[in-house]
């Protein structure tokens, strides 16, 4: 605080140095952050993975899995069943699954759930999950492990999971007569992919109660009555929240086990896979404990199955350190890209919010989309035996766990299947970006302060000389006067003129209201999809994605035109340089805080925001009237850049780039069209994800990033008089 109140601050040496060098320092920080990040892929900057939890004892048991025959039998039976009875139907073979599971003597239950789609016309989807519980002997069902397979019907665009179901059933059959289980095992087949999983998890944790006791209100992001700012009271005629109900009604479970310690999800379409991809990214970028990831990789290796993670392949080793660096960086980069959207890349991602560590094992062969896999054809095919052995050893290892996963890392980036970067190693790169913004804010602060100081310099000097004289006289007069009191008087005297000056130049209220209003606009935009989709379907008969997409575009354009004039509406006089600088400082601080706090949960998202917005934040400066043509040109360029990093533009641009990578041989116009379509879908997905699963991305972008962007836009568009 000394810095904020010290009148001599302008003359301090470091302030002068700061003012001179802050530009290059900020630039260096930015470049340094990027370089740091790139360096993380190198061997010397990351670590070999290791087991922290000794109780896992991976691979110490003698594998006994012998149910490969029944696995292939289940596989053939399931395929036959699907062909004869369920062909081209979006129905799960519930009776078959129930029959098979009760034949193995599991406790079998079904679970029904309903989704009232919150957007558009409010369609209703129903689904059924089937699960069987293997009760461990000699325990009172306090802990459980989950083995789950998402059911995908033959006609779906994704691969089926028939072999996964067969493997799971065969494993259940093998595991049922074993007496060593210390934790119950829940074998779960979910319908509608993530929806079924989310419904099952919510039902398991009891987030469905009608009257919402407080343990239940911690569930999904969208809840009736959660926001204190209730839009509905303002617009009673507009149906903001359909039916006042949560979109997903998870139903109830008839049977349960104890607290779930870990979950393994299987996605195998055929047993003839070449390798297993271990998927870890969860909702909002949450990750499973590194011990579990490590365990899965180690045990795949031990069972003789090739495994991979995000283009890091267990059978490919870099030729030299440069090659390894390149591979490591691309794996890292892939993982970061995957984490940005916060959408889980498998059903495992929904477990993480409930404090359950989960990973998905996906079987892949050479025909997989998403890039060519090197030397995949030379790999031998996998079979049910190997997969069963792997599953058995993973589960028996988890069975050994005495405590829930708490050791090892929860925040990390993987550079390959066996190397990781911990939070302590990757955070500095983000911190450098935020430091750049903070340095910029500090330099702005001392600049405004010094300008005040210059203005007051003469006055201040007079006052000090006067007061010192006064003091001398007083000291002569009476000894009883305490020195401290004098000094406080003195300080008061010194300060008063400065304060006056401040009230003249700056109205904190006006800019504060403007600041708050922009954030409220952001909050409003966050709530628009309801209204947009409602009116879109009512008047234009458009599907919700179209109405939401074009609605948001028009809102964004409208805001671009309105917001520069917003501060003028709230005040009479012109905006001063000091005010705008203060806004600039505030927004810089806010952006850096947001980046850091988002990165605490989802590093990739925080880092991406920082990388995109730091240049804008650093180059934004208050434009003074009549500063010359060159400055005006630069200002124009800054505005163009600002539009380029508008959140919506960023989304569309990244979608275009993504579709370009998918289909490279296409005209640019077609790519643009496809990218726009993809952006439409992406926005719709993020809105729906935010409502159903509690994904933050849409909420964060509209209620935090958009207002920050609008403030930058204001600063760039308002011309002020020279101070």
């Amino acid at each position: 605080m000394g810095l904020l109140s010290d009148p001599d601050v302008g003359s301090a040496k470091w302030v002068r140095v700061l003012k001179r060098v802050h530009g290059p320092v900020c630039f260096l920080c930015y470049v340094g952050a990027l370089v740091w990040f790139v360096l993380l892929g190198h061997r010397d900057f990351n670590n070999e993975t290791y087991f922290s939890e000794n109780a896992l004892l991976p691979g110490l048991v003698t594998n006994e899995f012998n149910a490969e025959q029944s696995a292939s039998q289940y596989y053939n039976e399931l395929l036959l069943e699907l062909e004869t009875k369920y062909e081209e139907m979006d129905v799960m073979p519930v009776s078959w699954l129930v029959g098979m599971m009760s034949h193995i003597h599991l406790e079998v239950y079904t679970h029904n759930f309903t989704l009232h789609y919150p957007l558009g016309r409010g369609q209703v989807f129903r689904g059924t999950n089937v699960y069987g519980i293997l009760r461990a002997p000699r325990t009172s069902s306090l802990e459980a492990l989950v083995v789950s397979v998402p059911y995908r019907n033959v006609g779906s665009h994704q691969k089926t999971t028939a072999a996964g179901i067969a493997l799971m059933l065969a494993f259940a059959k093998f595991a049922r007569p074993q007496k060593y289980w210390a934790k119950d095992i829940i074998f779960l087949v979910t319908q509608h992919d993530q929806l079924g999983m989310q419904a099952w998890l919510e039902a398991y944790h009891g987030l469905h109660n009608e009257n919402e006791p407080f343990h239940a209100s911690l569930g999904s992001f969208w809840k009736p009555g959660t926001p204190a700012f209730n839009m509905e009271s303002f617009f009673p005629n507009i149906p903001l929240r359909r039916n006042h109900k949560k979109a997903l009604n998870p139903g109830t479970l008839k049977g349960r086990s104890g607290s779930i310690q870990a979950a393994i999800l299987l996605e195998f379409s055929t047993p003839q896979i070449r390798y297993i991809e271990v998927k870890i990214e969860g909702l909002n970028g949450q990750l499973p404990n590194l011990d579990l990831v490590n365990l899965v990789h180690k045990l795949c290796q031990k069972s003789g199955i090739h495994h991979s993670f995000a283009k890091s392949y267990s059978w490919i080793r870099g030729r030299d350190s440069m090659d390894e660096w390149k591979n490591g960086f691309w794996t890292m980069f892939e993982m970061v890209l995957g984490q940005i959207d916060g959408v889980p890349d498998g059903n495992h991602g929904l477990f993480h919010r409930f404090g359950i560590e989960a990973v998905t094992l996906e079987g892949r062969d050479e025909l997989d989309p998403g890039g060519k896999v090197p030397r995949v054809n030379s790999l031998s095919f996998c079979n049910f035996y190997k997969l069963g052995i792997a599953l058995e050893s993973i589960l028996r290892s988890l069975n050994n766990l005495l405590e829930r996963f708490h050791q090892s890392y929860f925040f990390y980036i993987l550079a390959s299947t066996h190397r990781f970067i911990s939070i302590g190693q990757y955070m500095p790169s983000l911190c450098l970006l935020c430091v750049a913004m903070l340095i910029r804010a500090l330099s702005l602060w001392v600049t405004t302060l010094q300008q005040d100081g210059d203005y007051n310099d003469k006055q201040t000097k007079k006052v000090t000389t006067k007061s010192s004289k006064h003091k001398l006289e007083k000291a002569k007069d009476s000894d009883s006067e305490e020195p401290g009191e004098q000094e406080t008087q003195e300080v008061k005297k010194v300060k008063t003129p400065e304060k006056k000056k401040a009230t003249i130049n700056m109205s904190v209220l006006n800019i504060g209201v403007n600041y708050l209003l922009l954030h409220l606009i952001g909050y409003g935009v966050m709530n628009t999809p309801f209204i947009l989709s409602y009116y879109g379907s009512l008047y234009y008969n458009k599907p919700p994605e179209v109405s939401v997409y074009f609605g948001i575009i028009s809102i964004a354009v409208l805001l671009i035109f309105i917001t520069p004039f917003l501060p003028y509406m709230l005040r009479k006089g012109p905006i001063t340089y000091e005010e705008l600088s203060l806004v600039n400082i505030l927004v810089l601080t806010e952006l850096s805080t947001v980046c850091l706090s988002v990165a605490m949960q989802n590093f990739s998202l925080g880092f991406a925001i920082a990388v995109i917005y730091t240049p804008l934040a650093l180059m934004t400066s208050v434009y003074v009237k009549g500063s010359g043509k060159a400055r005006a040109c630069v200002q124009l360029l800054k505005r163009v850049w600002c539009v380029c990093v508008h959140p919506l533009v960023v989304v569309v641009a990244s979608m275009v780039a993504y579709s370009r990578t998918l289909v490279a041989d296409d005209t640019w116009l077609a790519t643009l069209g496809r990218g726009s379509d993809a952006a439409m879908q992406a926005i719709m997905f993020s809105v729906a994800d935010s409502m159903l699963y509690g994904n933050w991305l849409f909420n964060l972008t509209t209620s935090v990033i958009l207002p920050i962007w609008l403030i930058f836009w204001q600063i760039l568009n308002i011309k002020v008089d020279a101070p």
């Binding site: 009760s102 034949h103 003597h105 406790e107 009760r135 002997p137 000699r138 325990t139 009172s140 069902s141 306090l142 802990e143 049922r176 007569p177 074993q178 007496k179 944790h205 009891g206 987030l207 109660n209 009608e210 009257n211 006791p213 407080f214 343990h215 239940a216 911690l218 049977g255 349960r256 104890g258 607290s259 919010r353 409930f354 404090g355 005495l402 405590e403 829930r404 708490h406 050791q407």
Partner: protein, 557 residues
């Protein structure tokens, strides 16, 4: 020769006991196949002693236990040590239910004024007797149930029994051989003869569920109840899983690792009962064939019991069952009343406990539900909801005693009328609290156990009911015992929560680091403090006077 010796010894034994004839010992074994591939076997060893006889003159009754009972003036005592969970909705009801872990409750005689002190002493003594951690029973995990528990024995009708009752359960207790061995020592034949010879710890600790219990109560000697007897009942309940024993044909050899070497010579009666009601649907044969088959009608439920009278002749008996067909998928019919208990919510801030009770009967059932939450799990009465309603008409009576941190558990009892064919959900919320760092148990991240809730009910039907009537001591009392109500006390399953736990590896690391630093620093410091560095002149040695002079010279400088 051997036979003669044995015969003589028997003669001596019997003449001795026949002339004293104040103690009576009976052993019984009950088998019942349970739906979904399980087999229930229940051992019961009952010793009846005249109450008036001093505990120092016990003959068949376990003297150590009798002494404890008389010393602490215990009227009735129930102790069970259980591993595993009885699954009521699948298996039906056990003869005696038990909570997972250790459970102890006792009524003290009305003469005892300071019940809490006696209770503490009793639990500490029993802890030594059974090698169980019952000494962890303290005021912070003891409750006095108001409605849920009633004495099973004979008490005077005017007596205030509730204030003399204490109940505690230790859900984390693990039961093993070390508890079984002292338990077996209480039997007159120990484990050498009789049914207890079957209790081979290698086999019984491998079952799906095993529960060892000791129950002491007063029973009436005659119907007018002028004289009472002390009944010591020792029980073992085991559940075998056909899948784990790899076939649904069982025999003593398969279950217990050996045959039965005859009855205990000291017992007046040794009987084995096998429930053969399911024989009509899943035909099987018993070998050797039973002595007789009794048809018992209890309520409107028919039960067929095959009875074996076992004699103390030392012959190896291996009773077994052979099924005619391969096991079919069993259709499990839910019992009249079943329940489920689980923890709601996630995260480390709030949670809720739910007890779901389903009444499957056509008549309403009154039940008392006792929720017993430890002090570190503060349940709040304001959050109590029955079927989602704060003020439910189903609740007829309610007792709540709030807990106190580190002193008293939270205790809630509800008398609920369950409507026919319905499920009632009782929800109560709790907050997580921070413990002091020394209060965390080892493996703190394993989670914290919440004990079972007690549900005591009067069932209107005897379906799935296997308990003995309250006046009965042995299994014959079950036969044709039709009553209006069938009282039973259930224990629900427990639950586990993970409290906010600090990173214990951090203090460990700090300790390691600090110790290393201290160890490293200690050596040099000790050296510096105790040793003196002296320059040894290489030339001629100085004389003493010169040394002294040198000292003074230095000081001058």
């Amino acid at each position: 020769m051997d036979f003669l010796r044995r015969f003589l010894s028997y003669c001596i034994f019997f003449t001795f006991f026949l002339c004293v004839r104040c103690d009576e010992f009976r052993e019984e074994l009950f088998f019942k196949p349970l739906p979904s591939t399980h087999l229930y076997s229940y051992f019961q060893f009952v010793t009846l002693v005249d109450s008036e006889v001093s505990s120092f003159h016990s003959h068949l009754a376990p003297r150590s236990l009798a002494e404890v009972v008389s010393r602490f003036q215990v009227e009735e005592l129930h102790l069970t040590l259980t591993e595993g969970q009885w699954r009521h909705h699948q298996w039906g009801y056990p003869v005696l239910d038990a909570a997972p872990g250790a459970e102890l409750y006792a009524w003290f005689s009305p003469d005892v004024t300071d019940v809490d002190t006696q209770w503490k002493k009793l639990s500490a003594t029993l802890s030594g007797l059974f090698c169980a951690s019952l000494n962890f029973i303290d005021s912070f995990n003891t409750v006095t149930p108001q409605m849920a528990l009633w004495p099973m024995g004979a008490v005077k009708s005017s007596q205030n029994v509730t204030s003399q009752l204490r109940y505690a359960s230790l859900p984390r207790e693990i039961v093993c051989t070390e508890n079984l061995t002292p338990w077996k020592k209480l039997l007159p034949c120990e484990s050498s003869r009789g049914f207890s010879a079957l209790l081979n710890s290698r086999m019984i600790h491998n079952t799906n569920y095993h529960s060892v219990g000791v129950h002491v109560r007063k029973v009436c000697k005659s119907s007018d109840c002028l004289e009472t007897q002390l009944e010591f009942k020792q029980t073992v309940a085991l559940i075998y899983d056909y899948d784990i024993i790899k076939s649904n044909d069982w025999s003593f050899r398969k279950l217990f690792g050996q045959g039965l070497p005859g009855a205990c010579p000291l017992s007046t009666d040794s009987k084995i009962y096998v429930d053969v009601t399911s024989n009509s649907t899943q035909p099987f044969t018993l070998s050797p064939p039973p002595d007789n088959i009794i048809l018992s009608q209890r309520g409107r439920t028919d039960t067929k019991l095959a009875v074996y009278n076992i004699h103390p002749d030392g012959k190896m008996i291996n009773i077994g069952v052979k099924h005619k067909t391969k096991s079919q998928i069993p259709v499990s019919i839910h019992p009249p009343l079943f329940f489920n208990r689980y923890v709601l919510g996630y995260g480390k801030e709030f949670g809720g406990i739910v007890t779901e009770i389903t009444n499957n009967c056509l008549a309403p059932i009154n039940v008392v539900v006792l929720e017993n939450a430890p002090w570190w799990l503060p349940i709040q009465l304001s959050t109590l909801r029955v079927n989602g309603e704060a003020e439910s008409k189903l609740v007829q009576s309610q007792y709540y005693s709030p807990g106190r941190s580190r002193q008293k558990p939270y205790h809630l009892e509800l008398l609920i009328k369950l409507p026919p064919k319905s499920t009632t959900t009782i929800t109560i919320d709790f907050e997580f609290v921070f413990l002091k760092w020394q209060e965390y148990p080892p493996d703190a991240n394993h989670g914290f156990y919440i004990g079972s809730a007690l549900i005591s009910a009067n069932l209107p039907t005897a379906r799935n009911y296997t308990s003995l009537p309250i006046t009965g001591t042995t299994f014959d009392s079950v036969i044709n015992d039709t009553k209006l109500w069938y009282p039973i006390v259930f224990r629900t399953n427990g639950a586990m929560v993970s409290l906010p736990t600090p990173d214990f590896s951090m203090p460990y690391n700090v300790i390691c680091l600090a110790c290393t630093v201290v160890a490293l620093a200690f050596g040099p410091l000790h050296n510096i403090c105790t040793k003196e560095l002296v320059l040894k002149p290489s030339g001629t040695s100085l004389s003493l006077t010169q040394k002294l002079l040198n000292l003074f010279k230095k000081k001058k400088d």
